[in-house]
């Protein structure tokens, strides 16, 4: 479902990109895509813009990480099975639905 959504988004970007080239300023994004990118950006402060951390960062790059893996790790942080310094505290601030949304966003970003 997500892939389909991304494909739709890509198609939208392509169309909008061509439109922009023609001097039209129509938006490339949907409202929902904007919400997802906005909430996912809360992770970017430490994990890098669109999930791409700086070179040599001790904080991991989330871009391109399989969504299932992100969801699993966040669950492990929440229930304490994965030891952490801050992620056990931050993970508890996000609902399972938000985690799934964020995970799908980062999985779709280029590494």
């Amino acid at each position: 479902m997500l892939n389909k959504r991304i494909k739709i988004q890509l198609a939208t970007i392509l169309v909008a990109g061509l439109a922009a080239f023609a001097g039209v300023t129509a938006s490339a994004q949907s409202k929902d895509e904007l919400y997802v990118a906005g909430v996912s950006a809360t992770c970017a402060t430490c994990h890098g813009t669109q999930g791409r951390a700086t070179n040599g960062s001790a904080v991991v790059t989330l871009a391109g990480m399989p969504a299932a893996n992100i969801i699993l790790q966040m669950k492990a942080f929440k229930d304490g099975t994965r030891p952490a310094t801050v992620m056990h505290q931050l993970s508890k601030g996000y609902s399972d639905a938000q985690v799934a949304m964020i995970a799908n966003y980062f999985a779709a970003q280029k590494k």
């Binding site: 890509l10 970007i13 392509l14 909008a16 990109g17 922009a20 080239f21 001097g23 300023t25 938006s27 490339a28 994004q29 409202k31 904007l34 919400y35 990118a37 906005g38 909430v39 950006a41 809360t42 992770c43 970017a44 402060t45 430490c46 994990h47 890098g48 813009t49 669109q50 951390a53 700086t54 960062s57 001790a58 904080v59 391109g64 310094t85 801050v86 505290q89 931050l90 993970s91 508890k92 601030g93 996000y94 938000q98 779709a108 970003q109 280029k110």
Partner: protein, 435 residues
């Protein structure tokens, strides 16, 4: 996903081409547009992040002008390590060039002298004006030098600096500490909360203690706090001071400063007896940045802070003017920090992109905050929080059960690991804000 990247790159090129046609492209100050969709006042964590994310979230379609007087970005986070001698000024300085070159933000190196919210224009100190559809005001703090007698004169003569806006004063304070004879006293005075960076003064005391411990072991540190107790990570800081800096740091709560005398090294208080110090680092009360005050955006807390609609960070005093960062009236549990300003900027950026597209803004925005405090060259403690918008109360609140501080065990392997994460946090937030 290569396709996405190519598309993004193509869009940047298109955007750059479009900007060139409009005369908006190029380096700072070479060309000043007379009109922009979004004008941003202040290139700190709030303003620079807003500039970049409005560009990103609009797929590079909304043109953004960022007005900032400084030639480069100097980070307050990590600046205490310059005072401790563990980092250089170069380490905490970043360029603004990626915002223009990579993201097509038009940089204008200037100060805004006036905001006309009715006409929707800003006037620059050097003359000229820029019209906007949306204005973002992120001017940081104004230090209320008048709140401590003698402070303005002592600052003007260079005898007492604050170094609470990282820059030249950071280097000056480091020089004062280097020049101080062994056996001297460094005193930091802290205003009543809220002020910029709640744990900052205590981190600074720890950093300077780490320097004195090696270079000037007979020296003392005096923390004179206007608040009744340490305002952030109290038990952690106190344990660090007892463990690592025994006998070096003296903490005195409820000490509200009324006056300083740099010549005699005297600090006066509302109630208690005078204190003496060789190097005085007096932090006065703080309020919203001057341009926000002069524009009447400071409609909260007796004119100290700017009220905002937390869903969009739009001012409650002026339409289409969004206020970010340390200048705003904080929601419960919301610190005045660089991380928070970066997080607020993303909520505001998404809201501005939505509004300019005629869309409803996200009804459920989120904020995070992680404040790392380095207690020496390598060891670190933190406080972290997650904030959700609560529509019923029209404010942000910390999510129940989330957030917290470092373990009070202070195991070296953990505080060292936190130190490594803090270093990465700095690199990543600087890149997320500027690159």
């Amino acid at each position: 996903m290569t396709t996405t990247n190519n598309l993004q790159r193509r869009q940047i090129l298109q955007s750059a081409a479009a900007l060139s046609l409009l005369g908006l492209a190029g380096c700072a100050t070479t060309s000043m547009p007379s009109k922009a969709k979004v004008v941003i006042v202040g290139g700190g964590f709030g303003g620079a992040t807003a500039a970049k994310y409005i560009r990103l979230l609009s797929q590079y379609k909304i043109d953004v002008v960022l007005i900032e007087p400084n030639a480069s970005f100097i980070s307050c986070p990590v600046s205490n390590m310059v005072l401790g001698g563990h980092k250089s000024m170069a380490d905490i300085t970043s360029s603004y060039e990626h915002l223009s070159k990579k993201h097509g933000v038009t940089m204008v190196k200037d100060m805004v002298s006036k905001i006309d919210a009715a006409k929707k224009t800003v006037t620059l100190a050097s003359g000229g004006s820029i019209a906007y559809d949306k204005l973002v005001v992120s001017p940081g703090i104004d230090l209320m030098m008048g709140s401590i007698e003698g402070l303005a004169a002592a600052n003007a003569s260079g005898q007492i600096v604050q170094a609470w806006k990282a820059g030249a004063e950071t280097a000056t304070l480091r020089k004062q500490l280097e020049a101080m004879p062994d056996g001297g006293t460094y005193a930091i005075t802290i205003p009543v909360a809220p002020y910029r960076c709640p744990p900052g003064p205590y981190e600074r005391a720890s950093q300077i203690a780490s320097y004195f411990k090696v270079a000037k072991p007979k020296s003392k540190i005096l923390i004179l706090d206007g608040n009744p107790d340490v305002t952030s990570k109290g038990p952690l800081f106190k344990k660090v001071w007892a463990n690592q800096y025994k006998g070096m740091i003296e903490y005195r709560g409820d000490h509200k400063v009324t006056a300083v005398d740099a010549k005699t090294g005297t600090i006066k208080f509302e109630i208690q007896e005078d204190a003496k110090a060789t190097v005085i680092n007096a932090l006065p009360n703080m309020r919203a940045g001057l341009i926000a005050v002069n524009s009447g955006l400071n409609n909260m807390a007796n004119g100290r802070w700017c009220g905002v609609n937390y869903l969009t960070f739009e001012s409650t005093a002026a339409k289409d003017v969004h206020v970010l960062g340390d200048s705003i009236q904080i929601a419960p549990g919301m610190p005045k920090s660089g991380h928070m300003a970066n997080a607020q900027a993303k909520v505001a950026a998404a809201a501005i992109v939505a509004q300019l597209n005629g869309w409803e803004v996200n009804p459920n925005p989120m904020l995070t905050n992680t404040c790392y405090s380095m207690v020496d060259a390598k060891n670190c403690i933190h406080v972290a929080s997650v904030h959700e918008y609560v529509a019923a109360e029209k404010t942000f609140k910390t999510v129940a059960g989330s957030g917290g501080v470092s373990s009070i065990d202070l195991k070296p392997e953990v505080t060292m690991l936190e130190g490594a994460y803090a270093e990465s946090w700095a690199q990543n937030i600087w890149a997320d804000t500027l690159a």
